[in-house]
């Protein structure tokens, strides 16, 4: 049994989840300057949507999955309408506080409906996995990695090759200018919210068989997304992805070699380390505001 490659595999798998959530988080920062403290709640809700659809209503897994992701996209628009829209002209602070409120509201509403005991979601495949060169490839982790890679590729194609993608990019770079060019900025921002929520929901569904579905998963995932962002460079897209992967690996090795109960503390330690030594992150530029 070779421990190091096994841990690398697991770390990459969990890191891919963090990367997906962090990606949704960064897109909102760039498109709407919203630092969304309820990002992890998107994952929690996505997983619960899946529990309702496939567990409660008996919808087949492969139908329930896209439906749940679509539901999350719709929820993203609703979320924007409640937390961002009424406050969008009042600066960053009120929006941040209202997303914190939303996070608490969502977690505790689900808690009241479903109770504190975790739910179980099945994985994408029935087979538990296979072994390659002494490393056990858990099928769910493989699914996570493949889906994450596919999503990144899809996003790259949309952003770089389509008009919609260009409009989204223009909106994130300079809203005023984009609006002068006739781009419907409000619509672009709403699309970003929908996409960000769908991405988070998908990550939640993928990670559910590994972590269980629980009300507390949102906060934990939010924290990982922040940490991934700071490690990668705040508001930086490749940074968020690499930051997420790095975090997954550090955490998995930490749990194996250091301590299991303090596993979540490692993310925080890494975050603090970066804030102290390299606050602009791996890829970030020096933070400067134009006068």
């Amino acid at each position: 049994m070779s421990l190091v490659p096994q841990l690398l595999f697991t770390g990459f798998g969990i890191g891919a989840i963090y990367a997906l959530v962090a990606l949704g988080f960064v897109l909102l920062i760039r498109a709407a300057s919203v630092v969304n403290f309820a990002q992890g709640e998107f994952s929690m809700l996505g997983a619960y949507a899946m529990v309702v659809l496939s567990g409660l209503l008996g919808v087949p897994y492969w139908v329930a999955l896209p439906v749940a992701v679509l539901v999350m996209a719709g929820f993203g628009v609703l979320f924007a309408g409640a937390t961002y829209w009424p406050l969008r002209h009042r600066g960053q602070l009120p929006v941040i506080i209202s997303t914190i409120g939303a996070s608490i509201f969502l977690a505790n509403t689900v808690l009241a409906l479903y109770g504190p005991s975790p739910e179980v979601l099945p994985g994408l495949f029935d087979t538990p996995g296979f072994e390659v060169g002494g490393v056990f490839m858990d099928s769910q982790y493989v699914a996570i990695m493949v889906t994450a890679a596919a999503m990144l590729l899809l996003q790259f194609l949309i952003f770089e090759k389509t008009l919609l993608g260009k409009k989204l990019q223009a909106t994130s770079q300079d809203k005023e200018m984009a609006s002068l060019l006739g781009i419907p900025v409000a619509l672009m921002v709403l699309i970003t919210f929908a996409y960000s929520a769908a991405l988070g929901g998908l990550a939640g569904i993928l990670v559910a068989p590994v972590l269980f579905v629980s009300v507390g998963m949102g906060t934990i995932i939010s924290l990982k997304a922040f940490a991934a962002n700071i490690i990668g460079g705040f508001g930086n897209i490749p940074g968020a992805i690499l930051g997420g992967l790095a975090l997954g690996i550090v955490e998995t090795f930490g749990a194996a070699y250091v301590s299991v109960p303090y596993k979540d503390a490692l993310a925080f330690g890494l975050l603090l380390l970066f804030l102290l030594i390299r606050p602009q992150g791996l890829f970030g530029e020096k933070i400067a505001e134009k006068a």
């Binding site: 630092v35 403290f37 409640a82 937390t83 009424p86 406050l87 009042r90 960053q92 602070l93 009120p94 941040i96 506080i97 209202s98 914190i100 409120g101 939303a102 996070s103 608490i104 509201f105 969502l106 977690a107 505790n108 509403t109 808690l111 009241a112 906060t219 934990i220 939010s222 924290l223 922040f226 940490a227 700071i230 705040f234 109960p261 303090y262 979540d264 503390a265 993310a267 925080f268 975050l271 603090l272 804030l275 102290l276 606050p279 933070i287 400067a288 505001e289 134009k290 006068a291």
Partner: protein, 594 residues
């Protein structure tokens, strides 16, 4: 005129440091008398204990969030550190209560300052993230490090202090101690808002860049505000442990931090009285609404959003509408002492810039610019769009670090210093896109300018008010002194900015496109104001497009194009210089010249 009569004549209460103390003393006596009516133990006492100790922690949020605009999501963690300090100190280490309380407060402070130092150099959301993480970690540690913290079972049998004659062991007397502490803190926080430090915090909240160009050390101010909130969190928690004799980790979780935040927001995060109101309501309401027990955190979450949208100043903010508007400041003030009248400076060159360069990657936004601003002159910097004017200002004021070159103010090198340090040397500026402190009145805005470190009267509150009024007088805004600055027109806000700069008695006043966004008559008035300033001998560096304005006031003009100085000299020579004409009107065509 003496300073006290001055303050009275102008109707400004800020100068009286001990304002409200008689009311505080009366309130303490009254509350102590009432607290003897509370039973020695039981339900009612517990409600009061909880409200009093929570209120102290919520007052901390008023400072960090309300005054300074930084989000802390770990107030329950600091509360917990204070509580565990008292619990473990008295139960396990046998310390006297007040020593243990001190230890708890110190540990909260140390963690608070350390987290602040790590995260506050960057934007406000970094503190939110770091505190949320810290909150989670502390819960993990309190639950898992059973050897120190007794683990999830918590700590029992925490003793109350014993002071001869005060009978603090008894519940009603201990409540008295908590209430007196709370009232003292409420008074302090209320006064803090009108002090130099309080104004600095609000300036940082409203506009960090403008605050730093008023000489405020943004980082230190934020760390201090967060430190104060951690102290108050720890103090509230320490008293809480004594009040209930039993504590456990689940009382100091993330959910409780949100409860504290909701209390502050509901009551009104701008005022310690709002904190009292919000805390009182949210301690009592859940007792009345017991049927909501299962969902009360969900309700709090929804309440946070609704408050942000519909009640941004909280319930206490509603009382603002009932208050009498402050009287218009009347009475005479001494004229604004501009530099010419003080006559203390002798250096010939007010600001010297040598070989200044700023490269962004391959782009040379500034490429070896020299400039000497002579004392008592109006020096204009002009150039077409993209010539490097804005970069020049950002480098000179310290927002950007230069790639090469030197900057000296009044003979002292400031090249590597932070913006606020340059302000201390006497550099003042206004902004092209107006940057005023929107949450403050016109007078408070200008007072922040007068409190520039290094200004002669910065340390004397009464004279700060007088100087601010004089500056407002100079620009003709005395009558608007008590209006919120956001209610003024754009053009008028520009005068507030100029008054703010003048109140700091600058060595050099830097005006960044002052005519931008002004209409024709406003531009005319601005020209008159600048000529008055020039008449007083103030050294001004003005950067503008408006040739008309520049011709009216400039003694000396420097022209930039593509990051290089292309002309420098008196207005007549410079404006007829062929390179300058070419830069503004375009190069003559090659064939036309031939």
């Amino acid at each position: 005129m003496s300073t006290t009569t001055m303050a009275a004549a102008t109707g400004i209460p800020q100068a009286r440091a001990w304002r409200g103390l008689p009311a505080l003393a009366a309130a303490i006596v009254g509350v102590l008398a009432l607290s003897t009516l509370v039973p020695e133990q039981g339900y009612t006492l517990n409600i009061f204990m909880q409200a009093a100790t929570y209120s102290i922690a919520v007052a901390g949020l008023v400072v960090v969030l309300g005054y300074c605009g930084q989000i802390s999501l770990a107030q329950a963690a600091f509360f917990g550190l204070g509580a565990y300090g008292v619990a473990l100190g008295t139960v396990d280490f046998g310390l006297p209560f007040f020593v243990a309380l001190l230890a708890g407060v110190v540990s909260a402070t140390v963690f608070g300052v350390a987290l602040g130092l790590a995260s506050l150099r960057l934007g406000g959301h970094y503190l939110a993230m770091v505190t949320i993480s810290f909150q989670q970690i502390l819960t993990l540690v309190l639950t898992n490090w059973a050897g120190l913290t007794h683990g999830p079972d918590g700590v029992k049998n925490i003793a109350r202090p014993s002071v001869p004659g005060l009978r603090l062991e008894s519940g009603d007397h201990y409540l008295g101690l908590c209430l007196v502490t709370l009232m003292g803190i409420t008074w302090y926080i209320w006064r803090l808002k009108t002090t130099r430090l309080g104004r600095a915090m609000q300036a940082v909240r409203d506009n960090e860049i403008a605050a730093s160009t008023c000489g405020i050390d943004i980082f230190a101010t934020k760390v201090l505000a967060f430190g104060i909130s951690a102290v108050l969190g720890g103090l509230g928690g320490g008293l809480f442990a004594g009040a209930f004799a039993y504590i456990s980790p689940d009382q100091f979780g993330f959910g409780e931090s949100i409860v504290l935040l909701t209390m502050a927001l509901l009551g009104g995060v701008q005022s310690p009285f709002g904190a009292l109101l919000g805390t009182g309501l949210l301690v009592i309401l859940p007792e009345w609404l017991r049927f909501l027990r299962q969902v009360y955190l969900a309700v709090y979450g929804a309440a946070v959003i609704l408050i942000m949208v519909f009640l941004p100043d909280g319930l206490w903010g509603l009382t603002h509408r009932l208050r009498r508007p402050a009287p218009v400041a009347a009475g005479a003030v001494a004229p604004l002492p501009l530099l010419s009248q003080r006559g203390t400076e002798t250096a010939e060159i007010a600001m010297a810039i040598n070989g200044l360069a700023k490269h962004f990657g391959g782009l040379k936004a500034l490429d070896g610019v020299d400039m000497a601003v002579r004392r008592g002159t109006v020096h204009a910097l002009i150039g077409p769009n993209g010539s490097g004017k804005t970069t020049f200002i950002n480098v000179v004021t310290g927002l950007y670090r230069p790639t090469a070159g030197r900057i000296a103010i009044a003979g002292q090198d400031v090249t590597g210093t932070a913006p606020h340090q340059r302000t201390r040397r006497g550099l003042a500026r206004t902004f092209q896109n107006i940057r005023v402190f929107r949450g403050m009145t016109v007078l408070e805005n200008v007072m922040v300018g007068a409190e520039r470190p290094g200004n002669d009267i910065a340390e004397q509150p009464a004279l700060v008010v007088e100087r601010a009024l004089a500056a407002l007088d100079f620009v003709g805004l005395r009558g608007d002194a008590h209006r919120m600055v956001g209610t003024l027109s754009y053009g008028t806000q520009r005068y507030v900015e100029i008054a703010r700069a003048l109140a700091g008695s600058p060595q050099v006043l830097l005006l960044d496109e002052p005519a931008a966004g002004l209409n024709l008559s406003e531009k005319h008035e601005l020209g008159l104001l600048l000529r008055r300033l020039k008449g007083h001998g103030l050294t001004i560096l003005i950067v503008d497009h408006d040739m008309n304005l520049v011709e009216q006031v400039a003694d000396h003009i420097t022209v930039l194009n593509f990051g290089r100085r292309i002309a420098d000299g008196g207005p007549r020579d410079v404006l007829s210089h062929p390179d300058v004409i070419a830069a503004y009107l375009g190069e003559p065509r090659q064939d036309a010249a031939a």
